[in-house]
């Protein structure tokens, strides 16, 4: 009924207007807002909507409109959600009924569609609409009061009120508390990535004080292993790796680990999150040396065109600004210009190595390195000159060598190795036939080709202005020998050629003063090599360019096609209506950092508390943790999200405070039930498989093999002898470690919002056949004591699960290990492959 009224209202309003006016005032704005982003230039589904013809022609599914008949028009079926597949616009709510009424009326009246401004020019004057500004994520963070609940006994914290109220609204309830053994295992794995030891469990079970669990949480938060787990949570977002993405070869960054360690320590020290953010964006500009390492976030960038904008906006703000590099964002109020405003900030900054040694040490090393480089250069030049001269000497006798090689002339005064080389050359198919009948002519050709090559090299050098830069080389129009001449030159003069004797090989020809000189040059290199110490440590960090400058828009993302200038500045949607403020200090990174790490920024705190929540429950309150835009998912508990964000800022952006808030709630302490379904409202604690790191670390830990040394250089994970924690394993952009890959480690080439959690047979092969499992089972076998099988089983259960086995479990174990010997390690291996071990509950 309401719907009919709305349509009628539309008709009434249109009465006094011409069809063209009606279209311009009532229809075009609706189409522009809802349709044009995908259906003008982009033509999703083959449908363009830029003209009446476009609409009549339609897309892949047929005409979009039937002029005069709205009810038969696909467009109307789509926007009224009556069509089976098309429910437009694709995200968010249906259009309002008034707008739908206008469109129907317009089609009924013949779909007049005057040509006009708007569609193609949309990018020029970017205006954020009121509706866009009203999107939930752009609203200031509120401080909602916890709602009233019916079951007053269930909850113990404000968090529980939000969770329970939502459950009760759907006539649901939360599970009761998990048993204490489950709870301490959950908490310990959650905060440290390691299982609790039997004595830790015993102590907690024995502690009857009301704050027993709070004490456990505090103990875990104070453990250095806390940062090893939660630092890694951030490193997923920071797309951390220990190497540079190089297309063709491995290129390690041996100092990358300093950023990783800085992150781990920041978590351990509970660095306020706003400082943590600022340090990563602009740590070099804050005047605090200990914060410079944070800019490793960009110092270790994979260096794709959009990487730094992407990791900044998705990582800190959950906005997909990089989507706007070719066109205005299709769904969120992010004009292309915003992307290039930020790109300008990053392109006005550079990667910079900050030495971690005193000035003298750096200078001393640099000086010694220069000396070595110079010595090597001298040696190389000397050799090059000798090589060339020797080849000229041979070329002058090329006719004699040719004859000797065919055993047609004397060998006297000729070099034996060179004759042999010449023979090999002649063995190749057709070579002899191609050589002119007269050896003298061949000699002349060889001399000429060397001369011609020299001249060409000289001319090319002039054309290049002496440059050896790859960019210059690739664009230069250079000369070269004709192919046949080139092959001749290559076969005689290049490395491996008949007349070519390079370093080492040529030494036997060098005599007298020259020999003495060569010896001297070699000795200088050797001395310089010995004198050069290992390079001083340094940070992969950032610095501002001397001359910061704005970017221009790359039209459709094409760097060769520049559009208008995009002044460095802040995002439009997070700025007041007058337009975004510009950044004017240096590159603008510091201003960017201050805009992000800011209590007035509606996104920063929400995004981080949501990530923390996800770390505990597997899913965020907003499940798309790096996308709070219209294509992200709406928060399941918007008020709780705001309450947490407010608390976070009130508590000086303390991440540890948030862990306490969350973990001391009944919500966190709930049992895991058997309720099927999405569990979006948290009826039960969601179980999950151990992530790759926790899995490896847990196995090492229970078998007593874990080396818990903190920090330092990355070690290769494939080295089965190195039992440090997985967070210290070498992460490669080029080749992810097999085990990490198998257990859903994220791709380190882009920021990652969450771990997927698969269960596949290849993972089981790891549990069956990896040396980690085998070696750990062996280690357990050595470690677990007991005079009877059942006593050993008891002790093994304590080591692995921190509990006593049941009678049935003991019986199974006794039965299995009856044969003794290898049956024992096989048994321990099975225990570490049980669901109980692999799951966090």
């Amino acid at each position: 009924m309401k719907w009919l009224l709305a349509v009628t209202a539309g008709v009434c309003l249109s009465a006094a207007e011409t069809p063209a006016e009606f279209f311009e005032t009532k229809v075009r704005p609706v189409l522009a807002k809802n349709c044009f982003s995908c259906h003008t230039q982009t033509k999703l589904g083959g449908l363009a909507m830029a003209s009446r013809e476009d609409l009549l022609k339609g897309g892949k599914t047929g005409p979009a409109i039937v002029s005069g008949d709205p009810e038969k028009s696909l467009l109307v079926l789509a926007i009224t959600h009556q069509h089976e597949r098309f429910k437009m616009p694709p995200s968010g709510a249906k259009m309002d009924e008034v707008s739908i009424g206008h469109i129907k009326q317009w089609i009924r009246d013949g779909a007049v569609f005057p040509e006009g401004p708007g569609t193609k020019q949309a990018g020029k004057q970017y205006i954020v609409t009121k509706e866009q500004r009203q999107w939930w994520a752009f609203q200031p963070v509120k401080n909602p009061a916890p709602p009233a609940v019916k079951n007053k006994a269930w909850g113990k914290s404000p968090i529980d009120a939000f969770i329970l109220a939502a459950l009760e609204a759907k006539d649901k309830k939360g599970m009761g508390p998990a048993d204490r053994r489950t709870l301490i295992r959950r908490a310990t794995l959650d905060l440290t990535g390691l299982p609790p030891t039997a004595s830790e469990i015993d102590a907690f079970l024995a502690d009857k004080s009301p704050d027993a669990f709070a004490k456990v949480v505090d103990r875990l938060l104070a453990s250095p292993h806390y940062g090893e787990r939660w630092g890694r949570v951030w490193l997923d977002v920071a797309r951390y790796s220990d190497d540079k993405l190089n297309s063709t070869m491995d290129e390690p960054r041996p100092n990358a680990f300093r950023y990783r360690d800085w992150v781990v320590q920041a978590f351990n020290k509970d660095m306020p999150y706003d400082t943590f953010v600022k340090a990563q964006i602009a740590g070099d500009l804050l005047g605090k040396p200990e914060l410079i390492a944070g800019t490793g976030l960009y110092g270790l960038s994979p260096e794709f065109q959009d990487d730094r904008v992407d990791v900044t906006t998705r990582g800190f703000l959950a906005l997909t600004v990089a989507c706007a590099q070719c066109h205005d964002h299709k769904f969120d109020p992010i004009p292309t210009k915003d992307y290039y405003s930020l790109l300008g900030v990053f392109n006005s900054s550079k990667q910079n190595e900050y030495p971690l040694a005193d000035k003298e040490a750096v200078e001393a090393w640099t000086k010694k390195k220069k000396e070595l480089d110079k010595a090597k250069e001298d040696l190389t030049n000397f050799y090059a000159k000798q090589t060339e001269q020797l080849s000229e000497i041979f070329a002058a006798k090329a006719d004699k060598y040719l004859l000797a090689a065919q055993d047609k002339g004397p060998y006297d005064g000729l070099d034996g190795e060179t004759i042999q080389r010449f023979r090999n050359y002649l063995k190749k198919k057709d070579r002899l036939a191609k050589i002119a009948d007269s050896p003298a002519v061949f000699r002349a050709e060889l001399i000429a080709v060397q001369e011609e090559k020299k001249q060409i090299d000289e001319k090319n050098n002039i054309r290049l202005g002496g440059s050896r830069e790859r960019g210059d080389l690739s664009q230069a129009d250079l000369l070269s020998l004709a192919p046949d001449k080139f092959y001749l030159w290559r076969d005689f003069y290049r490395n491996g050629g008949v007349f070519n004797y390079g370093p080492g090989k040529i030494d036997r020809f060098i005599e007298g003063q020259w020999r003495e000189h060569l010896g001297l040059l070699k000795q200088i290199v050797e001395t310089a090599e010995k004198a050069l110490p290992e390079q001083y440590p340094f940070l992969h960090a950032m610095a501002d360019n001397d001359k910061p400058k704005n970017e221009h828009i790359y039209i459709r993302g094409n760097r060769a096609n520049l559009g208008e200038e995009a002044p460095r500045g802040w995002l439009t949607i997070l700025s007041p209506e007058g337009g975004p403020p510009r950044f004017e200090k240096g590159s603008g990174r510091l201003e960017l950092a201050e805009r992000i790490a800011n209590k007035n920024n509606p996104l920063t705190a929400r995004v981080m508390v949501n990530r923390i929540w996800q770390g505990h429950f597997g899913e965020g309150i907003v499940r798309s943790t790096s996308n709070f835009g219209r294509l992200g998912e709406a928060p399941s508990h918007p008020e709780l999200l705001d309450w947490l964000a407010t608390k976070f800022m009130e508590k000086n952006w303390s991440i540890k405070a948030m862990h306490r808030e969350i973990m001391l709630s009944s919500t966190y302490q709930m049992a895991t039930g058997n309720i099927e379904g999405e569990n979006r409202l948290l009826e039960q604690f969601p179980a999950r498989r151990l992530d790759a790191e926790s899995l490896r670390d847990s196995i090492l830990s229970v078998s007593g093999r874990l080396n818990s040394e903190l920090g330092g250089k990355a070690f290769p994970l494939e080295d089965v002898k190195q039992n440090r924690r997985t967070v210290y394993g070498y992460v490669s952009r080029r080749r992810t470690d097999t085990m990490l890959n198998l257990f859903d480690f994220p791709n380190p080439n882009a920021t990652s919002e969450k771990r997927v959690n698969t269960d596949v047979p290849l993972q089981r092969l790891f549990l069956l056949n990896s040396s980690l499992m085998a070696d750990s089972a062996e280690a357990l076998d050595k470690k677990v004591e007991g005079s009877t099988p059942s006593e050993r089983i008891q002790n093994g259960y304590r080591a692995i699960f921190g509990r006593t086995p049941t009678k049935a479990e003991t019986d199974l174990g006794v039965q299995f290990t009856k044969a003794g010997g290898e049956a024992w390690p096989e048994y321990w291996q099975v225990l570490m492959a049980t669901d109980e071990f692999l799951m966090v509950r």
Partner: protein, 442 residues
């Protein structure tokens, strides 16, 4: 975390999750093809020396292009360079094929020769990504991952998507990544330099006898059952699959089981062994096998186009034998065999300072050729055309998305409907493009 139902479904499909709502029962279109073998001539094979003969290019050899300046490519190029190879009319169709591909020539009536491919960038990395993952930046799933995700494997003891390469192509695993799709759909990369089949799949070599493992698995099942509140009962099932894989997978990969005569026909080269392995895998139900010709980018012949002959000597018998074997086994009709690289090469000679001599060609993203056989693609036809010199595709231009859409179509999939929601957006292989080319399919 998946729900138990989803999990069981995954395990039920062996390696494949279930991308299509009810893949087993219905696909979007009738299924014409069940497998893909993609022979990737990495580096960028030249169209004008392989499948796109250009008389005008021969005529203007050594002269500037009369039609105007050369198009922009990665590096500087100069005058036109005629092909050093001759083209022969082959098969009943009489399609002209370069002399360096005689065995493909003999089988040309099985192939649709697409002469109007193009891509946006003259650089390897983005073009490799476009061809494999549909977008020029890393981080999106590869075609094989999409197929494995959408259709699952037909053999639960084998992976759905296998990549064979001696060494790694440029940017390596980015090209077979499952990105945000579940990791199980990632291509399993087998290093074909290694002839020890046991080294091909991680952790495949049993450490204990089958009997001992059987006992371990029975114990595991009993222990898990005692903890019966477990929601995740799949562990035991996927363990059973893993157990069977240990036996089956190495047998399939082991080409020493083939008669010597057969191995000779494919050639004892990496690409030859790869094609033979691919045939064995497809026979056992693997969804997609991709064979990279070699480590790095062998077909990237900036300096000397003559090197194409040596490379073709390796690839040609392998591809020829593969087509013949598939046809003889009546499997070609359900197996798409795609051959090509990430782009083509310029008809003009490269003169940049990065080449040692000027007898080669630069990258060419404006126009190149790919050939495709089987799986319902028409044989013995050419499609589209480049300009007179083979520089730019001008007729019926085909972008990677169009080819991908057409291949998916043959596999029964509407490329606009095989999507995955990630970070709030529905992603698909063909990004926002792609048109099925009906003229290519029977």
């Amino acid at each position: 975390m998946m729900t138990r139902r989803e999990l069981l479904q995954t395990v039920g499909m062996g390696f494949g999750g279930c991308g299509l709502a009810s893949a087993a029962a219905t696909t979007h279109f009738p299924v014409k093809a069940k497998h893909v073998i993609f022979i990737f001539l990495n580096g960028g094979p030249s169209q004008v020396d392989t499948f796109d003969p250009k008389p005008m290019l021969q005529k203007y050899h050594g002269k500037p292009m009369p039609a105007g300046p050369n198009l922009k490519t990665e590096r500087k190029t100069g005058n036109l360079l005629g092909s050093p190879f001759t083209f022969n009319r082959c098969g009943k169709s009489g399609i002209e094929v370069s002399e360096i591909f005689p065995r493909i020539g003999q089988n040309i009536d099985e192939f649709a020769v697409i002469r109007s491919m193009y891509t946006d960038r003259p650089n390897h990395e983005p073009s490799l990504l476009i061809m494999n993952c549909g977008v020029p930046l890393p981080g999106k799933p590869s075609m094989g991952s999409w197929l494995s995700y959408g259709l699952g494997s037909m053999n639960k003891n084998l992976p759905g998507f296998v990549v064979l390469c001696p060494g790694v192509p440029v940017i390596g695993s980015q090209l077979w990544t499952s990105a945000f799709l579940p990791a199980v759909h990632q291509g399993v990369h087998l290093e074909t330099k290694d002839k020890d089949v046991r080294k091909l799949v991680p952790y495949i070599t049993p450490r204990r006898s089958a009997e001992e493992q059987r006992k371990q698995m029975d114990l595991l099942a009993s222990l898990n059952k005692l903890q019966s509140e477990s929601k995740f009962e799949s562990g035991v099932e996927s363990m059973e699959v893993a157990f069977r894989m240990q036996k089956e997978a190495p047998e399939v990969f082991d080409i020493s089981k083939e008669p010597e005569k057969v191995r000779e026909r494919y050639g004892d080269t990496e690409v030859g062994r790869g094609c033979l392995m691919a045939r064995r895998m497809v026979e056992k139900g693997v969804r997609m096998v991709q064979i990279y010709h070699g480590n790095g980018q062998p077909w990237d012949n900036h300096d000397d186009i003559q090197i194409h002959r040596k490379l073709a000597n390796e690839a040609d018998p392998a591809i020829g034998a593969l087509i013949e074997d598939l046809r003889d086994r009546d499997m070609l009709k359900e197996t798409i065999v795609l051959v090509g690289g990430e782009f083509g090469r310029t008809p003009s000679v490269e003169v940049s300072g990065l080449v040692s001599h000027q007898n080669g060609r630069d990258h060419n993203n404006h126009g190149y050729s790919m050939i495709v056989a089987g799986g319902g693609f028409k044989g013995g036809i050419t499609y589209g055309a480049t300009d007179d010199f083979g520089f730019k595709a001008v007729e019926k231009r085909v972008y990677a998305h169009d080819l991908q859409a057409t291949m998916l179509h043959q596999m029964g999939i509407d490329h606009t409907r095989l999507t995955y929601r990630y970070g709030g957006r529905d992603f698909r292989l063909t990004d926002v493009g792609g048109e099925v080319i009906h003229d290519l399919i029977a």
